[in-house]
Symmetry: C2
Subunit: 220 residues, 2 copies
């Protein structure tokens, strides 16, 4: 860990879940030294990394003297408690439930379906070719984003961002799904509210700095 | 909604995510009137229910005068804030991160892979027959539980339950995955710590009352 970094973050340039933690660290003004786990090379299944993250999932956030923290939603909650300002959740009970629900729609009900271990299984055991895998990606990314769009479009709570005019966990998780669609050049149509909110995220320094294309290891 | 019930809960007898909310309500001493959404009949894809839960996912928790709450992890956090005693999270920062991480390993990285909409896609589009679907269920339930076992087995924080001697969100989510294995008669070997913790859950009234087999609509 570098002298300045407060954390070590095990991540990969295009990982959606690592993106979430990067944005949260940026918003909170916290720093992490990134340790690259090459998902394409299968490094997440190595014995050493499985000691840190038993599911082989990234990110893992490590702080000296503490057990590694895994699971992006848990890490977002941790960072929000560690450094409460600026908050990643609204101040009211029902607002927090709404933001956490949108975050889960993205991070729990959408992203786990399209991770490398699922791709590996569907290709090696399920008989999926490249086109079938792409159709699978489009199906679940599309379903997730359409559902979030429905939730956002008509709600009075929706502002510049998913909930009001400052970014929350909901924007972090939503942007992490949109980031995947961009990496894989998948266009999800008819999500105007999401498109508008993504424009706001794209102009926010904490999101810009976390862009997969700007990370070490990203293709030129 | 009945006069006594504080919530309306859209659920299905064997739903793992609905089980989580049932246990939390029981632990908190809160009551809900259940509205059955028959997943086998596809009722979750009906236009009326999609207005309540845009992803067609259950549970949805409805309280008069408020928007429906969806996503079990968000609902658990909501109930814990609404009614703080007994707590579903430990009192320390790192303990909370550990409990939320185990909860996510179950509810975010395991369960979404084996829900009805994924089964429908794999059978109708992916060419999976019944045996291939069962192998898929076993693969992801096994991977999830093995990873949680690794996290629990050696940790000093593990007690009678996943974190100390009282149930937390981690036990709720872990028991919800084990409940699925029981419904589908899938045995996951070599998880002795989980087996021990499940014995404690099986003897806890809040978990007993939430048992899928005891819910309306369950097969005799």
């Amino acid at each position: 860990m570098s002298e300045q970094a407060q954390f070590e973050l095990f991540a990969f340039w295009r990982s959606s879940a690592a993106f979430r933690v990067r944005v949260a660290l940026n918003l909170k003004g916290l720093s992490a030294h990134e340790q690259n786990i090459d998902l394409d090379a299968g490094e997440q299944r190595g014995a050493e990394f499985l000691k840190i993250s038993p599911l082989g999932s990234i990110p893992a956030l490590v702080q000296d003297g503490h057990e590694p923290l895994t699971q992006s939603l848990a890490i977002l909650e941790f960072l929000d408690e560690l450094q409460p300002s600026p908050p990643l959740l609204p101040s009211d009970l029902y607002g927090r439930a709404r933001v956490r629900s949108i975050a889960s729609m993205c991070a729990a009900d959408t992203h786990p379906l399209i991770v490398p271990r699922v791709k590996k299984y569907l290709q090696e055991t399920g008989g999926f070719d490249a086109a079938a895998w792409r159709a699978w990606q489009i199906r679940w990314l599309g379903a997730g984003l359409a559902a979030v769009e429905q939730r956002l479009a008509s709600a009075p709570e929706t502002g510049t961002f998913c909930h009001g005019d400052e970014p929350t966990m909901a924007d972090i998780c939503l942007a992490s799904i949109v980031a995947i669609t961009r990496v894989f050049k998948i266009t999800i149509p008819d999500v105007p509210t999401i498109d508008r909110i993504m424009t706001a995220c794209d102009q926010h320094p904490a999101f810009m700095k976390a862009d997969p294309k700007r990370q070490a290891g990203a293709p030129k």
